[in-house]
């Protein structure tokens, strides 16, 4: 990416933040909070997720058979099935159905699949009057915009904007103002359209192969009317919506509304086995008694492939097909909360999972405008009802985008810094951040000269124009003495120690924050442990977040080799940097042989995860420490579930601990340093800011430290191990 294109990206994001930001932020965070509450009150959440995941895995595996089964049953019921290889074919088929009945008015309930193929536009171009009946989709249709959210297509619009739109388009007798007035108007207007309609189009949330039933989940009731009022119903569904039968439906019904809006169940869950027995309503013959006996109902199920078969065969994109389109990954994404789908998504699919869908349908390059907005913070992962590893999909797609481009003309400027395993053509900014280990090593060998050099006038501009580090961002200072060199002089362990632990020395501890490493060593020795340290090695996190999977794999292998003997000796490896520990415990399974990854997962432990039980078992704590303290846990740490031991350690020492509850600080990895994302990163941080001012703050992740330092305008929050060590030393003697 050139400096110019970084500037354009920044401008585009700024524009969307200005137009959509406030409304999106309010609505999406609201949905997110509702989901957390509802899920917390639902005892079977995890077991439902497990079941749903297994059912989807199996259904996608058996997809060709399910397509045959559903075809057989729909046809036996008297309906028609058409499997369309792409959008054009699906659109043509629906057009033919409409032409056959010489129909012209179409009512349509919300369906992202029809949005994906542009069905409404196609039918309108061919002369039909097509009305979206979901009010959010109706707003989008009137505004001639694309959806900004897969569940709430118009949630970027404020009430005022919707009122203005309606008043301009319909010029009602008295201007519409309140949500109730706007709803009443839309209900009346669309109610008339439904009465005239010749054809009703819906999507399908699930298709049950063994009975040929479709399941529609809505709150408004428009899908019910669209499906049953006209005598012809076309349901358009991606082939991935198939599940075997009604027996598999239950976990999805428990999860879909909870994950989407925090509701126990949506207002309406229609289970239709068409052609349905419900009589059609002919409002042109208002006094004709309603009678189903002479009905000539027609039903067509259009199953859309459009890239899905290829996704099924792609080991990395395949998981996307498990998606039930609940939007939980969007709502739990800190970046999405600020910009919504108009910056973070394609024409149809938005947010975290949008990358998988768009890459599958239109190819990885089609995600160029938004894929980098996934910081791999992983907060969406525990929120996905079918456990899709969304950050991994984003990483893989990023890697695919990275390659096959023309090499950057000025690559030689940073070539010495990038001994990576990547093919040519990789974006210079990505290579810089992906090779941060080399940058830190070279910089450190020259510190304090490099610190001085970085403060020279013009250097900030140079870094901005070459590798895209935003000049407003202050860079961390390289330590004048690295942890490794301090360690060389401090290797003596307590004579009484009979247990050995290994400290994993990450890049940041070594080059930037050696104090946290020293505190860890002192604390461990206080606890009568013998400490060994691992060689300073990059974990693979930095290249991985740039989509440099080959480089990350190479580094993971080096780490595996370095840890091998400690793990074989069953001596625990303690990790200070939570983004590295999360990597060892999750992504390594994607980079290393299964057995090696399992060993590393089992053999590594967070520094406080290890230490907390030891602290608590020692009786001599005097609880001398006191006062309120805020702990900002790294996002990956929260996802992986090792936030709690830090809180427990601090509480055991007498602190009153408050944890932050925003999804992410906005720095995750290198994200906040990149000039194109600086403003977005600071806006995300804006949600964190009120929680980290006025009280002493601790932060565990290196990136979070940098963000909180900028937000709070000054002090670098220490790692919790520093405070624990200090309090322990002061209060246990």
């Amino acid at each position: 990416m050139t400096e110019e294109s970084r500037r354009q990206t920044a401008a585009r994001i700024r524009d969307v933040m200005t137009t959509d930001g406030a409304a999106v932020n309010e609505q999406v965070r609201n949905l997110n909070e509702n989901r957390y509450e509802s899920v917390a009150a639902f005892d079977d959440y995890e077991s439902s997720r497990d079941r749903a995941r297994k059912i989807k895995e199996r259904a996608i595996e058996d997809l060709p058979t399910l397509i045959e089964t559903v075809t057989e049953h729909v046809e036996a019921n008297g309906g028609h099935v058409h499997v369309a290889k792409d959008g054009a074919e699906a659109n043509r088929y629906v057009q033919d159905v409409l032409d056959e009945q010489a129909g012209e008015t179409v009512v349509k309930s919300k369906s992202m699949t029809t949005e994906e193929i542009g069905l409404r536009e196609h039918l309108a171009d061919e002369g039909a009057d097509v009305f979206e009946t979901d009010l959010g989709e109706f707003v989008i249709q009137l505004a001639e915009e694309s959806p900004s959210h897969i569940v709430g297509p118009s949630l970027h619009k404020s009430r005022e904007e919707i009122a203005t739109l309606f008043n301009e388009q319909f010029d009602p007798d008295s201007p519409l103002e309140t949500p109730a007035e706007l709803t009443a108007f839309a209900r009346e207007y669309l109610g008339e359209r439904m009465k005239e309609a010749d054809l009703g189009i819906t999507g399908a949330n699930f298709v049950l192969a063994e009975s040929g039933s479709i399941v529609l989940v809505t709150n408004e009731g428009n899908a019910r009317k669209s499906a049953v009022v006209p005598d012809t119903h076309v349901a358009v569904a991606g082939i991935e919506k198939l599940i075997p039968s009604i027996e598999e439906l239950h976990p999805f019904l428990e999860l879909i509304a909870r994950s989407a809006t925090g509701q126990d169940i949506a207002q309406y869950v229609s289970l239709l086995t068409p052609p349905v027995k419900t009589p059609t309503l002919d409002f042109d013959r208002p006094d004709q008694p309603i009678d189903a006996s002479d009905d000539d109902r027609e039903f067509h199920l259009v199953l859309l492939d459009n890239g899905r078969t290829a996704m099924r065969e792609d080991p990395h994109l395949r998981e996307t097909l498990y998606c039930i389109r609940c939007g939980a990954c969007l709502n739990s994404c800190a970046n999405f909360q600020q910009v919504g789908g108009h910056a973070f998504g394609g024409d149809t699919y938005t947010g975290g999972i949008g990358t998988g869908w768009v890459a599958g349908i239109d190819g990885p390059d089609a995600t160029a405008g938004f894929n980098d907005l996934c910081t791999s913070c992983s907060r969406c992962v525990p929120n996905c009802p079918v456990k899709i590893d969304i950050p991994w999909i984003n990483t893989v797609v990023r890697e695919r985008r990275n390659h096959g481009k023309t090499p950057d003309a000025v690559d030689h400027l940073i070539d010495p810094l990038v001994p990576d395993q990547e093919a040519t053509g990789l974006d210079r900014q990505k290579r810089f951040f992906g090779n941060i280990d080399t940058v830190l090593r070279l910089g450190s060998s020259l510190a304090p000269v490099s610190n001085w050099a970085l403060s020279l006038p013009g250097v900030d501009r140079l870094l901005e124009s070459t590798v895209g580090i935003d000049r407003r961002r202050s860079l961390p200072h390289l330590a004048t003495e690295t942890f490794a060199s301090w360690w060389a002089d401090h290797q003596e362990n307590p004579d009484s120690a009979d247990t050995t632990v290994h400290l994993f020395v990450d890049l940041y501890t070594n080059y930037l924050y050696p104090e946290r490493g020293k505190a860890a060593v002192r604390l461990l020795r206080e606890l009568d442990l013998s400490v060994e340290v691992t060689p300073v090695l990059p974990s693979g996190r930095a290249p991985l977040s740039q989509g440099m999977i080959s480089t990350a794999t190479e580094q993971a292998n080096e780490v595996a080799e370095a840890l091998d003997s400690s793990i074989a000796a069953e001596e625990p490896v303690l990790v200070i940097e939570p983004s590295d520990l999360a990597l060892f415990r999750s992504e390594y399974s994607k980079l290393l042989p299964t057995e090696t990854a399992a060993k590393i997962e089992a053999g590594t432990v967070g520094i406080l995860e290890y230490v907390t039980p030891l602290l608590k078992s020692q009786s001599e704590i005097e609880s001398g420490a006191s006062g309120e303290i805020v702990f900002h846990s790294n996002c990956q740490q929260r996802t992986a579930g090792f936030e709690e031991p830090t809180v427990e350690a601090l509480e055991a020492l007498g602190y009153d601990v408050r944890t932050t509850d925003v999804e992410c600080c906005g720095m995750a990895g290198s994200f906040g340093y990149k000039s194109q994302f600086y403003e977005l990163s600071m806006a995300v941080g804006g949600d964190l800011e009120p929680q980290v001012t006025d009280t002493e703050v601790l932060a565990s992740g290196t990136s979070c430290v940098a963000q909180i330092e900028s937000l709070a305008d000054g002090d670098e929050p220490p790692h919790p191990v520093e405070l624990v060590e200090q309090a322990w030393t002061e209060h246990t003697r």
């Binding site: 979901d134 839309a186 009731g221 027996e247 009589p279 409002f283």
Partner: protein, 170 residues
């Protein structure tokens, strides 16, 4: 759990989802219904012993015009779900689906013996119907609703009020 306890649980859950519930007995059904219906009203016949719309002012010969003008729609429901206050309306040939959907008030008539303990049991029950042949219906929970117009509003394409009459002795 006995039927009485399930009905009580149904009432509590229904209140959480903005449904009103009235318990009655077959013998007093007509007067209970009259207190709840706003006229004009349309309805479909109720397959509950001792309960009928025949002696009420609810119109059972449906036309599009009557459906359009009705302020209340009265339908039977096949079963309820105790934990959610949900009712299942069968998509039958006599028009229960549109009658429950078009008028602004839906009065759902449920026999206490047809309250399922929870969603899984209700899905199983629909599964049994499906095993017997093509079958359709809707799990409906409270009034139709939207948040798409900048605030939560009840009553969009479906009813704005849902009232369940539980016939306690059936």
């Amino acid at each position: 759990m006995d039927a009485g306890a399930e009905t009580t649980q149904f009432e509590t859950a229904a209140a959480d989802h903005d449904l009103a519930v009235t318990r009655t007995r077959a013998a007093s059904f007509d007067s209970t219904l009259d207190g709840i219906v706003e006229y004009p009203a349309v309805g479909v016949s109720l397959p509950i012993d001792g309960v009928s719309l025949a002696e009420t002012d609810v119109e059972t010969t449906l036309t599009p015009r009557k459906l359009d003008a009705a302020r209340t729609g009265v339908t039977p429901v096949s079963f309820g779900i105790a934990t959610l206050g949900t009712v299942f309306i069968e998509g039958s040939a006599d028009g229960a689906e549109p009658v429950s959907l078009f008028p602004e008030r839906h009065v759902a008539v449920l026999a206490a013996s047809d309250v399922c303990p929870e969603l899984a049991a209700a899905v199983d029950r629909f599964g049994e119907e499906l095993a017997a042949g093509p079958s359709s219906g809707v799990f409906a929970t409270g009034p139709s609703a939207t948040a798409d117009m900048g605030g939560h509003v009840q009553g969009v394409h479906g009813p704005s009020e849902v009232h369940v009459i539980v016939v306690a002795d059936r």
